[in-house]
């Protein structure tokens, strides 16, 4: 095929072709095939030569010669338009994700309302203190079966006694969603309580101590004021913004509460989470309110539910839940100094521990 045959062979070969058409056909097609193969080869070669030349070109220089800058910019924009869009969306998503995760949106609502219902969330530090305290108590009372909770509570607030028999009042939001509730006296003794009544509208909850180890209080030194208190009345509260009770002191700064709420007073006592549910007393030793919340975006604006409404709640309670709930009518504090009053009142104030 490659012309490698000698002249003689070639002649014989040609003759054979003439006589045998089938063979001839085959040879023709074979030649055609080889031709195609070779053309393929040369095209392949051409392409690689061209690519080599192309590599040596300075495309950008050529482009700047023949294509106006405006077109180049437009082309670049079209090319990276998608990338820009993706980058922008990712940026926006990231912003929103950050805002969301740092509680911007929920806090915005809170900021808008401004009302901060005070429930103390027990941090790890607090829990450690609680644990060691529990242990100390157990040591002291070794021998007696301590029915106190083994775990450390999740939330804490304040409550105060309504009766010597162990009815305790606190805020509804303190015990909201609780699996179990305990109260702890200032001596550190814990008692299990049952939530006997909840009034979300007035944010009041009535608890009853169901613990056998509880023995009745000696006496209740305060009474509950039925009427409203005046602007400027000097008031104080005892509560548990931390593990040890704290005295807060101030005056009634408004006859209405948050956003004009008529069931609350505004007081200027600085309160914190944990104070919720604590008693608000006037200088004569009357309970005039139940601490309930504070305003976030204003200094020194705290709120307490008027005692009038506490009494209303107790009134509204179904009889079966308040069988032994008769309120004290004898005030033992009226002539006493502040410090003496506190001495008597604090025995009736409890930390409310929510699990």
């Amino acid at each position: 095929m490659n012309g490698e045959m000698s002249g003689e062979e070639l002649a014989a070969f040609e003759a054979l072709r003439k006589t045998d058409p089938a063979l001839d056909q085959e040879i023709v097609s074979h030649q055609a095939f080889l031709n195609t193969l070779q053309e393929y080869g040369s095209r392949h070669k051409l392409i690689s030569e061209m690519n080599a030349i192309h590599e040596g070109l300075n495309i950008d220089a050529i482009k700047s010669d023949v294509i106006p800058t405006s077109t180049i910019i437009r082309i670049l924009w079209n090319k990276y338009r998608m990338n820009a869009a993706v980058a922008a969306s990712v940026a926006i998503l990231a912003v929103f994700a950050t805002l969301f995760s740092t509680g911007f949106f929920s806090r915005t609502n809170a900021l808008n309302s401004g009302y901060n219902a005070l429930r103390r969330e027990m941090k790890e530090v607090d829990r450690k203190i609680q644990r060691s305290k529990n242990e100390v108590i157990r040591d002291i009372k070794s021998g007696s079966v301590k029915k106190g909770p083994a775990k450390v509570s999740q939330y804490a607030g304040t409550g105060f006694a309504l009766t010597t028999s162990g009815y305790i009042v606190t805020n509804n939001h303190v015990v909201e969603g609780a699996d179990s509730v305990y109260v702890q006296s200032i001596n550190g003794e814990s008692y299990k309580v049952k939530t006997v009544y909840k009034d979300p509208k007035y944010d009041i909850a009535i608890l009853q101590i169901t613990d056998d180890s509880f023995s009745s209080l000696k006496s209740l030194p305060y009474t509950f004021k039925k009427s409203s208190s005046n602007l400027g009345e000097f008031v104080y509260t005892i509560g548990f913004p931390r593990d040890n009770y704290v005295l807060g002191n101030g005056y009634v700064s408004s006859e209405t509460g948050f956003e004009g709420d008529t069931i609350q007073y505004q007081i200027d006592i600085p309160v914190n989470g944990g104070n919720s549910g604590g008693p608000l007393l006037d200088s004569k030793g009357n309970i005039i309110g139940v601490i309930s919340g504070k305003q976030d975006n204003a200094d020194g604006a705290s709120f307490a539910i008027k005692s009038k409404y506490l009494l209303k709640v107790i009134d509204d309670m179904p009889y079966k839940d308040k069988k032994e709930l008769t309120l004290n009518k004898k005030n033992l504090l009226s002539g006493l100094s502040r410090t003496d009053q506190i001495d008597k009142v604090r025995d009736c104030v409890f930390m409310v521990k929510v699990y």
């Binding site: 193969l37 095209r43 023949v66």
Partner: protein
């Protein structure tokens, strides 16, 4: 600087001669002379740099085929011929990619080139076929075939390269490979 001026646009007859002689120098001059205008046409009509390269190289192949097949009559400038071919190819490509409304901004005159392109397409198909079949052959057949038929190496060289004991052995091997290639080529053709 002066060298560039000297080596600028080759005359049409120079190009044709160069193609027939297989001169790489001509190819280079031709490439450098006419690629910019194609780059301009393609990029200004929704194309990328790579599109321009593909289109241009295809048109050069068309030109080469036409010249080598012997029926090349140039009625106008070579430049116009190349431009017209590229234009047609690009229009077709745009329609495929539906990237265009169907019209192209022109920067040069245009010739009718349909028949050439039809032939080109036919050949293109054949070559794709060939490429595919060769690739399917695998080694060592592919290299043997390429060396013998395309690179025109002698049997001796191939024998040495692949380590066959003698030329006849190599020839046998080559024959077998060729048969296989043929079979594959015509099978899918």
């Amino acid at each position: 600087m002066s060298r560039d001026i000297k080596r600028s646009e080759p005359t049409d007859s120079e190009v044709i001669l160069g193609i027939l002689n297989g001169s790489t120098d001509t190819l280079e001059r031709l490439y450098k002379a006419y690629f910019p205008m194609i780059l301009q046409m393609v990029v200004m009509n929704n194309g990328t740099d790579d599109d321009a390269k593909d289109i241009f190289q295809e048109s050069v192949i068309v030109l080469y085929d036409k010249v080598k097949s012997g029926n090349f009559e140039l009625n106008s400038k070579l430049k116009t011929f190349i431009y017209s071919v590229c234009r047609r190819l690009w229009l077709k490509r745009l329609k495929q990619l539906s990237r265009n409304s169907g019209s192209i901004k022109d920067f040069e005159d245009v010739l009718p080139v349909e028949p050439d392109l039809e032939r080109h397409e036919e050949k293109d198909r054949q070559f794709r076929q060939m490429e595919e079949s060769l690739n399917k052959l695998g080694e060592p057949c592919k290299t043997i075939i390429e060396d013998f038929y395309i690179n025109n190496r002698s049997m001796q060289e191939i024998c040495a390269k692949f380590g066959y004991t003698n030329a006849d052995n190599a020839k046998n091997q080559k024959y077998k490979c060729l048969q296989r290639l043929k079979k594959m080529f015509f099978q899918t053709f």
